[in-house]
Amino acid sequence: MNLDELNEMAEGVRAADTGIAHEVRVCMAASCQSSGAGPVLDGLREAAPSTGCRVKGVGCMGLCSAGPLVAVAPMDGGEPVLYRDVKAEDAQAIACSIGTAPVERLRLPNDLPFFSRQQKIVLENSGVIDPNSFKGYIAVGGYSAMVQALTEMTPAEVLAEVTTSGLRGRGGGGYPTGLKWSTVAKMPAEQKFVICNADEGDPGAFMDRAILESDPHRVIEGMAIAAYAVGATRGYVYVRAEYPLAVERLKTAIRKAKRSGFLGAHICDTQFSFEVEVRLGAGAFVCGEETALMASIEGLRGQPRPRPPYPAEAGLWGHPTLINNVETFANIAPILLRGGEWFAGIGTERSKGTKVFALAGTIRNTGLIEVPMGTRLRDIIEVIGGGIPDGRAFKAVQTGGPSGGCLPAAHLDIPVDYDSLRELGTIMGSGGMIVMDETSSMVDVARYFMEFCMTESCGKCIPCRAGTQQMHDILKTIAKGRGTRADLALLEELCEVVQATSLCGLGQTAPNPVLSTLRHFRVEYEDKLAATSA
């Protein structure tokens, strides 16, 4: 199959839709499902006019706090009408409104900054296509990047395009994707692997889940392109077992892609073959660390091993292995289709493209957003997020999960990119953004994350295993107002040792929430101490 044939196929799918004037899209991602999207979808299917209209379940539309969300989209490309907090009994009203005046009482304004200030690349199909439909993906141009790569580009050209794009790993580390790919490509080996890290474990982060639930083919396509570029023939998607819906949709997508010849042997009648399997995690945060993840795929305890050797050199079963995260792979197809230069034109000097964030905590609009790198933190929180509810004051935003840190109001005007966040003692991480108001205690937040790291420590290396436990004990003591100055000094010393000597990223970054709250909110710690000596 070449590009023309694929385009023809897509054209065919779209042609079958002539006669459909409106599409009713019901968000069926996990959050809306738990607020009752299922009955809404059923109700709309029943109530909608039988001709000229199609009702379908789609992936995440982003504004989870207003779910279940429904969009009525005219197929001529006009602006969709968005509805919030839809209940099953609203189905009739919405169905009757199609093609006439919208139901104002449920309507979300189209110019809501939450939507208008975003720029969607990764999420462009999210909330638009039916994630369970292979044809639906084809209709929006799916797999054309892969077919283009396989039929019109050499692996080196694919690598060059990804390198030009300046894409950096979206899992947290920010390692240049092109560099990672070329390292694996250069390894002389018969067998290589591509792994998609979907073990999204940061508490308060759900970007990867939403991408997999909304547009699973996009991730598979990115993996296949990567495999072609680096010379791999087998791939694994390592997903948390806690995401049953994502797993189901991913498995469906793999099955359908394979049946249509877009995965498996001789993809699209080329010499390139690529098999993908899903492997489930089983509740271990540390498996997000790449060497632990590989151990888990190998059926072992998910314990990291020292690096080097890096997976690119000796990974899964000792073979060169490329590991990227879900969002990284989801960026690949658009980069190939629109060019690395285009992608590099978005974002900042050293952080290109967009980033998906999961907004949560005490903020008006919680949900999933995608903004260009370099967007001001204040815009994300106050404009897109709608600020803090209930008239309370903003206190801090936590990024990067248990490896990250908290930023106070004084730094709200920084651009959100890898380097600015790092300078302030936190990290981009995978994209979790938890907003806290004045009622949150920073010592308690640090304790919360330390408890997380302690329970998630694999127990292999001493500094992380015993150090996180000791630090947690001290934080507990301080939080209870029983800490001394000596406790605080010991805490800081342990932070340094655990950071410097731990075996893997989990331990090396476990002190970050403490260090960053000490840096920006030291007075809260001091106040707790003062209470004891008084």
């Binding site: 020292p306 292999k460 295993r465 015993a466 000791q470 004990d473 040792v497 000597t501 731990s502």
Partner: protein, 243 residues
């Protein structure tokens, strides 16, 4: 004229360890080269003849050109590498790591059968740990005396996994493994049942010999009487790996 000798597969490199020029094969690790040259680097999980585990972090060293500390046991030497094994900072970190170990379980040296022959005890002394700043946890751990010949005292285990590795890699029984996660980790035999009931244990005693502390000992030993002998290991390791 004779032809030049065929290029050997492995090259020889030169590097500096604590300012001292040394040469090494490029497939050697820093700790191997350091010990060949009588530069002591403390370690606990590393044991010549077993696979590298890289967990105790006591052997971390500084390498010029990188901010990260690297474990000497798992890092290969490279040409021109400059290694510092014993800076003030490394000494401080090692002291803290040893302290964390002492505080984690109940290493009461004075009443230990391995007193005087214990690697952890010696390590504490060499690293200058004369007291433990971090609070002792004093959690309760079991003692398993069910085996006819040997005893397992979890109070004194440092989770170095030497027993697990020697049992798997040399004896081939894989009776031992580690269960649980984080501070709940514990060495186990089979399905975490009493050692004496193990169906896979051959009672060879290699685990006891490689155990650095008094966690695995022979029955019938009193305070300070348990000595261990590691001479068998390099020999058996070579036999196993066909060298």
């Amino acid at each position: 004229m004779p032809l030049p000798a065929p290029q050997p597969q492995v090259r020889v490199v030169t590097l500096k360890i604590d300012g001292q020029d040394v040469s090494a094969r490029e497939d050697e690790t820093i700790i191997e080269v350091a010990r060949e040259n009588r530069v002591p680097i403390p370690s606990l999980c590393y044991l010549e003849g077993l696979s590298v585990w890289g967990a105790c972090r006591l052997c971390v060293v500084e390498i010029a050109g990188t901010d990260r500390l690297l474990a000497a046991c798992s890092t290969r030497v490279t040409e021109g590498m400059q290694v510092i094994t014993n800076s003030e900072r490394l000494q401080r970190y090692r002291r803290t790591i040893v302290e964390l170990l002492f505080a984690e379980r109940n290493h009461v040296c004075s009443v230990c059968v391995s007193n005087g022959h214990c690697e952890l005890q010696t390590l504490a002394q060499r690293c200058g740990v004369d007291h433990v700043k971090v609070p002792y946890r004093h959690a309760r751990y079991e003692v398993d005396s069910s085996h006819d010949l040997f005893r397992l005292d979890h109070n004194r285990c440092v989770l170095c996994t030497r027993c697990v590795r020697v049992c798997d890699e040399i004896e081939g029984a894989h009776t031992w493994d580690v269960m649980g996660r984080g501070t709940d980790c514990r060495v186990i035999t089979d399905l975490a049942r009493p050692w004496g009931d193990s169906g896979s244990c051959t009672s060879c005693g290699k685990c006891v010999q490689v155990c650095p502390t008094g966690a695995l000992v022979r029955h019938g030993t009193s305070v300070g009487e348990m000595t261990k002998d590691l001479k068998f290991l390099p020999y058996l390791s070579r036999r196993r790996h066909g060298q």
